[in-house]
């Protein structure tokens, strides 16, 4: 699938021309935005490859790659569903300008167990959560729940969301405002350290504070905001890509986990069957032939089913095209590579504009 994001130059120019909001007097809803980086997978959780046919198997790397995106996307939908937060985005890289950034590691992921290590920090350096979450799979489906946020590890995600809400609840409006202000200043610091370093202070405990604010009509701030808007353009593309990936892979991934559970059960029953393998039908009779053929047929269907799973996991990212003003930028590689490339382009654009 070719993904194209074409943005009219006028819209961008509008972004460039718009006046910066008065940082200290922003009246935007004080629901902090949350950025979730794609997760890392602990190397110890690799499961052996599942062979579909000779030389053809579902690679554990493909499943791991899926999980590093699937789990943060599911978390994103769960957080969004609360309505207590602003925009929730999944990003290929950590965002130094995020209001609240969630990083995660998958410590264990099997058909029956999920164990995650999460760290959520806001732009002031306040730690919202830093701990492990674990749970066992409970296959339950609620008819009232949205299909996208159904998962066998609902309890794990519910616990994370509860902890995030608990971290948000005590923050007063001034603290929430400070989170938003610092996120922009820190974004600026990443682009032009020499200009933004003076605005940000640090407490002895290592927390960031707003030392002073740029003027309301500071042209530097205007440019930084415009650049960030452009970054959001790409993030929206990424978001759409991850959403599509999630929607495509969710049924495949769900089937995969179900298959792994069944496989574990079948291994036990097969051992039992082999120990007492006798057919109730006379050898050579129609029913005996049927029984043998149906067993074989079942195994073949299972191979086919695994093959389809394998195709689902082999989902690859297509190049992204973004049009900015008169230039069309074609980004290739993984989304992580594209995001790095896009950030480089934005930095170069910024330097060009400020010469």
């Amino acid at each position: 699938m070719k993904l194209a994001c074409v943005v009219a130059a006028a819209n961008l120019l509008l972004g460039l021309l718009c006046q910066p909001a008065a940082l200290a007097q922003q009246t935007a809803p004080l629901l902090p935005d949350i950025s979730i980086g794609i997760f890392e997978h602990e190397s110890g959780s690799l499961e052996p490859a599942v062979e579909i046919a000779p030389g053809d198997s579902i690679s554990p790397e493909a499943v791991r790659m899926t999980e590093t995106r699937y789990i943060p996307m599911l978390l994103r939908y769960r957080i969004e569903a609360t309505g207590h937060f602003g925009a929730v985005r999944v990003l290929p890289l950590l965002d130094n300008g995020a209001e609240v950034m969630i990083e995660g590691r998958i410590l264990e992921s099997s058909a029956t167990q999920l164990r995650l290590a999460l760290r959520a920090v806001d732009s002031t350096g306040r730690i919202w959560l830093e701990q492990e979450y674990a749970g066992s799979a409970i296959s339950s489906e609620s008819l009232n729940a949205e299909e996208l946020i159904q998962d066998d590890f609902n309890s794990v995600y519910s616990e994370i969301v509860r902890d995030l809400e608990a971290a948000l609840a005590p923050l007063d409006p001034a603290q929430r405002d400070e989170i938003r202000t610092l996120s922009l200043l820190r974004y600026g610091l990443g682009l032009v350290p020499q200009s933004f370093a003076d605005y940000i202070g640090e407490t002895p405990e290592g927390r960031m504070t707003v030392r002073r604010l740029p003027a309301r009509d500071d042209p530097l701030l205007t440019r930084i905001e415009a650049i960030r808007e452009r970054e959001y353009l790409f993030i929206d593309v990424v978001d759409a890509e991850y959403s599509r990936f999630y929607a495509d892979i969710k049924p495949v991934y769900d089937m995969w986990r179900e298959y792994r559970r069944e496989q574990a059960d079948t291994a036990i029953s097969r051992t039992e069957r082999e120990a007492t393998e006798t057919s109730q039908f006379a050898r050579g009779s129609y029913y005996a032939l049927q029984e043998n053929y149906n067993n074989y047929r079942w195994a073949k269907l299972q191979e086919l089913y695994l093959d389809e799973l394998s195709e689902g996991f082999a989902n690859e990212t297509e190049p992204t095209e973004i049009e900015l003003s008169d230039s069309l930028y074609r980004l290739t590689g993984t989304l992580e590579q594209q995001y790095r490339e896009w950030r480089t382009i934005l930095t170069e654009l910024y330097l060009l504009e400020t010469r």
Partner: protein, 238 residues
């Protein structure tokens, strides 16, 4: 064409090896498959397309079964006179009517397959069949390939211009599907051989398929493990 003879010999050897393996594989657990053959040389016919059974050109099963029974009786009589019963039947001194009828009934059901859809490229071939699993052969650059699972083993590949799928299952059941294309490419011949170790003579059924253009379908149907054929409406917006 010496290369074809060499190829045929290689395939026959592989089949013989597989048969030997299957004898043990199906009675207990699967054994390793025989070594795979080297690169195939000839360009193979393209069997791709949608095929529907031509009943006029295909075997009438009742006729085929009558001929089969007549053949068994003829061979039985001849063998009886030569006291070679062991060669013919698993039960010396008699013919198992249950086994013959069972084999015939099973073969009749197996070979109904009114429609086939074949996809083929340089790497492999897929034959989708109604209400049965898809026959797949990932021959890539090989003459044939083999695999085993808990319930049997199979060998598939090109034997000259014919595509062969040979399967062997528990209980001494063996099935070979042999596909070949007519010279003008309009007909697909499918010869199926069904054998059982309870009956000395295999039953061979020949069906002929002709190309057809499938109508645009409103439903997309797939064969699933647990729910047999499941259909969903095409074009449903996401």
């Amino acid at each position: 064409m010496p290369e074809f003879f060499a190829f045929s010999r290689a395939f026959s050897c592989a089949l013989a090896l597989l048969s030997a393996v299957l004898l043990t594989a199906c009675s207990s657990r699967p054994e390793p498959a025989p070594a795979e053959a080297p690169l195939r040389a000839a360009t193979q016919p393209d069997l791709s397309g949608h095929w529907e059974k031509n009943y006029q050109l295909s075997d009438d099963f009742n006729n085929r079964f009558s001929l089969y029974i007549a053949d068994i009786q003829r061979r039985f009589t001849a063998a009886q006179s030569r006291t070679e019963l062991q060669v013919l039947g698993a039960m010396p001194g008699s013919i198992s009517n249950d086994a013959i009828n069972g084999l015939a009934r099973f073969a009749e059901e197996l070979t109904r397959m009114p429609l086939l859809e074949v996809e083929q490229d340089a790497k492999g071939i897929k034959v989708e069949r109604e209400n049965d699993f898809t026959l797949r052969c990932n021959y890539k650059d090989r003459l044939y390939t083999s695999s085993t699972n808990a319930f049997g083993a199979d060998l598939c590949g090109w034997n000259e211009q014919r595509m062969l799928f040979q399967m062997s299952m528990g209980g001494g059941l063996g099935i070979t599907h042999q596909f070949s294309l007519s010279a003008d490419g309009s007909m697909l011949d499918l010869t199926t051989t069904v054998s059982s170790d309870a009956v000395a003579t295999p039953l061979i059924v020949r069906n002929v398929y002709q190309r057809y253009e499938p109508p645009e379908q409103d439903y997309n149907c797939i064969l699933t493990l647990t729910r047999s054929t499941v259909c969903s409406q095409r074009g449903t917006p996401k």
